[in-house]
Amino acid sequence: MMIAAPMPQPEVVEPRDRAAAVLLDTNGEPLPLAMEAKNVSMWYGSKRAIDDVSLDMAAKAVTAIIGPSGCGKSTFIRALNRMHELVPRARIEGSVFLHGQNLYASGMDPAVVRRRVGMVFQKSNPFPTMSIGENTIVGLRLNGVSDRKFLNERLEQSLRMAALWDEVKDDLHKSGTSLSGGQQQRLCIARALAVEPEVLLMDEPCSALDPIATAKIEELIHGLKTQYTIVIVTHNMQQAGRVSDFTAFFYMGRLIEVGSTTKIFTNPNEKQTEDYITGRFG
């Protein structure tokens, strides 16, 4: 069943025509890419927040973005689903490709982009007037889906994928805000998954959670990457080390280094990366 109006289909540009893929698997083979940011620069008014960042994000893998506060991590992932457009005076240069389609091409509907590239925020934000069940499928409803049987199936499927079904299946009518912080965050993940995005962006999804709730989210991320491409912003080095396959280090709006997480956390190429991850930034 289609869950929304047909999406505009801009021309697909093959990766070789944009730039060579730089992410390699353990055998040295190029990895298929889900997203590619090309020469992205962003401004809030006259303040430049992102400076000419090009970053490839491998499909069905977790890419962690790390860096000190104000380095542009959150701004950058907002560019990946055009969320920054909701901020007054924000503007962007460059391109973002999702499976070869330029998300900034003319005719590309930002609402459709945000459905294909879902987002989970630092603070869980279930709709307070909606039940757990309604929160989960609100995205589908907003896209015009009304088939009750389909909605119920997707409701259970999404909550199961978010590892929340067993905890809430008897309380679907209760308010989303009645859940604990960790459960609310998983509800937000279920809500993002319900519209079947291709990429899931997570902006410090565990920063307000206790270690047990954090572990559940991290376990969830590990499971989800078999089906989804995940880009996570985190301040927690250990979390980046645990959950991600690739790590990108941002500093003062620039991408300093990207590589396999093992490489970045054992022997980064750049001194700035080394100084940051080892806690030597003064």
Partner: protein, 228 residues
């Protein structure tokens, strides 16, 4: 190389303490080895006794380094060069402890030899000890200075030490057949030569870890494969 300090001062203090304990341990092992060999060459039992006594402190330092290393991993979760330094310290200390054990072995054998008339074949140990000692000192230096060229040179010298030990073994075995009166003495010299050959092996392990610490490259077993 000047390494910038961590924002967390206690992290720097813990890393410095770990490094100092390791250097102290290496210094004691070197001194113990030196005393054991001087005890052999100068027929001085007191030096041998001092060498044996050093081993207790070396053993305690090994336990201290393990404890501090684990605590550092637990409290500070080091990454990158810090992680490599901690892991290397934990891996280096058993090698240094084994060098201390070899010094004790040599000292005990030297005391036995000192009870009997001097054997001119003791001179066969001189070049072997010089080679083994230089390998050990250079391995520690390579670790301290993160000098990968020096570390590689240590690894490359191990085969020569093996050959020197094998040569001494052959000659001393022949002497055992020729002069059965001094059987025990020659046997003790064979074991001293073997102990020094083991010192070279530990120095090689330390040098390999020095390379890993400096540039995150694992060169173990490559050296053997290349020289085979």
């Amino acid at each position: 190389m000047v390494i910038p300090k961590h924002i967390l001062g206690t992290f720097d203090e813990a890393l410095t303490s770990l490094r100092n304990d390791l250097l102290m341990m290496a210094g004691l092992a070197e001194r113990s080895l030196d005393r054991a060999l001087k005890g052999l060459f100068q027929r001085n039992d007191d030096l041998c006794t001092h060498a044996i006594a050093d081993d207790e402190e070396i053993d305690q330092l090994e336990k201290q380094i393990d404890k501090d290393g684990f605590e550092l991993l637990l409290r500070f979760q080091p990454v990158a060069s810090d992680l490599r330094r901690v892991i290397s310290a934990i891996k280096l200390s058993p090698n240094i402890e084994r060098v201390g054990d070899q010094a004790t072995n040599i000292a005990k054998r030297a005391r036995k030899l000192n009870r009997h008339p001097p054997l001119p074949e003791v001179q066969m140990i001189v070049p072997i000890q010089a080679h083994a000692m230089s390998m050990f000192k250079d391995a520690i230096n390579a670790y301290v200075r993160e000098n990968i060229e020096l570390a590689h040179s240590v690894c490359n010298r191990d085969k020569q030490l093996d050959d020197m030990n094998r040569d001494a073994n052959t000659k001393l075995t022949l002497r055992m057949m020729e002069d059965s009166e001094q059987l025990r003495g020659y046997f003790n010299l064979i074991l001293i030569s073997r102990a020094l050959e083991r010192v070279g092996d530990h120095a090689t392990n330390i040098a390999e870890d020095a390379v890993y610490t400096a540039v995150a490259e694992d060169i173990r077993h490559k050296t053997v494969a290349a020289s085979a």
